[in-house]
Subunit: 249 residues, 2 copies
């Protein structure tokens, strides 16, 4: 039974892509088969696994509501649905509630025996994020410890609650503190707030670590570019924390 995971946050630059890519790689490292779905016209997730793409194939597949284009990557066990700037056009298909079931139908027709499907979303509540929320059971929300970050999280919770009537399976699985600076007082203030708002769902933190900034430039996840680094350690720990809860293994 394939598990579909969305990585969402309308707030920009909080670590959605870094999280989607590195969780996918960590799960693949333990022998899981993973499909990373890049739903961002910026194509950051694709670039982070070494794939440049204009997004035309994905746009076309969504338009015709057929199976999605899948490519393999250099990471054993990790496949990718690549994206690129042409996917921007899909924004025009989203008018109110119509058009948010398209990705779900496409995924149903996409053949593959993956254990996890993980969808990277852009920083907005438009077509791409809403489709991802409709298609998944498990939602991960990376957050950055800042006041503006907290504001984005509240808007995210509202959006997820409003979609529950159309996708009853949806559930906020975890809030992932990313780009954490533990020496800052604001880090601890925000961590207290997160634990209040989501008592059992705050994962171990992902520290700000330059190995995570550098990895995309090398087209590989951090467990390959910097095997022994805080970035690799932190994402491995969070991937296991999540696997216990989602994978039920």
């Amino acid at each position: 039974m394939k598990k579909v995971v969305s990585v969402v946050n309308l707030k920009g630059g909080v670590g959605k892509t870094t999280t989607a890519v590195n969780l996918a790689a960590c799960w693949a490292e333990t022998g899981k088969k993973v499909l990373l779905v890049d739903m961002d016209p910026q194509g950051s997730a694709s670039i982070s696994v070494g794939v440049m793409n204009d997004g035309n194939e994905l746009l076309d597949a969504l338009q015709r509501t057929v199976d999605l284009p899948v490519v393999s990557t250099d990471v054993p066990g990790l496949d990718l649905v690549p994206s690129g700037i042409e996917l921007t056009a899909a924004n025009q298909w989203y008018t109110g509630d119509s058009g948010i079931g398209i990705l779900d139908r496409c995924l149903e027709q996409t053949e593959g025996d993956w254990d996890y499907l993980i969808i990277d979303c852009p920083p907005s509540l438009g077509f791409h994020t809403m489709n991802s929320l409709m298609a998944c059971q498990h939602v991960l929300v990376p957050v950055e410890a800042s006041f503006l970050g907290l504001n984005g999280l509240k808007q995210m919770v509202t959006a997820i609650k409003s979609i529950k009537s159309q996708n009853p399976d949806i559930k906020i699985e975890a809030v992932i503190p990313c780009r954490a600076h533990r020496r800052r007082r604001i880090h601890w203030e925000i961590m207290d707030r997160l634990k209040e708002m989501f008592p059992t769902k705050v994962t171990p933190i992902i520290r700000e670590n330059v190995s995570l900034t550098e990895a995309p430039g090398r087209g590989k996840p951090v467990i390959f570019t910097a095997r022994i680094s805080k970035g690799a350690d932190d994402y491995r720990l969070v991937s296991m924390w999540l696997d216990e809860r989602i994978g039920g293994i």
Copy 2:
């Protein structure tokens, strides 16, 4: 002759809002009259100057193409067009090229004797950013020193070039290195690339400084929350650098 400035980057979390808010405050501090226009449904710029708003008034003004709602702020000389989550609906009015002249027409009808109008945009190339690009003469692009950040910058340049046929006055005034970590090698690598791509347009850097993360939570720009801080110093310097080039004074 009022000067309209857009702060844009489809890449999330690079410091657009922090830059728009703090440049506006620094200019106001020198006696300029400034209008800060919040074009982001997340309302980050509004929050950063202490204003909570649902975005309905702005949405309505854009829909009817009339003068924009303007409020004063606690900062002398600084006014605000507030935004909020309801502004998301405007995304549906953007289909290809139609609907991108709306903000420009609204600004023409908005009475006020501001020296600078500075528009904060969301992390996307949709309705809000395209309207801002159509309405301005001067474009500021905050960038974060990372590979994914560089990729976003290239997509931004393409978008700005494509709009020049419809807005011949538009010009990339400056690229602003934000959230800079000078100890990182990747910082210097990216700075070299920026100076190659934009020889005369790279501003002094804005360093990563926790005073900038904390200021929005206090509803005031950093020159009020942390007068003597790297955050305040850096934005004052960049505001003067820009004022010489845009203000011509």
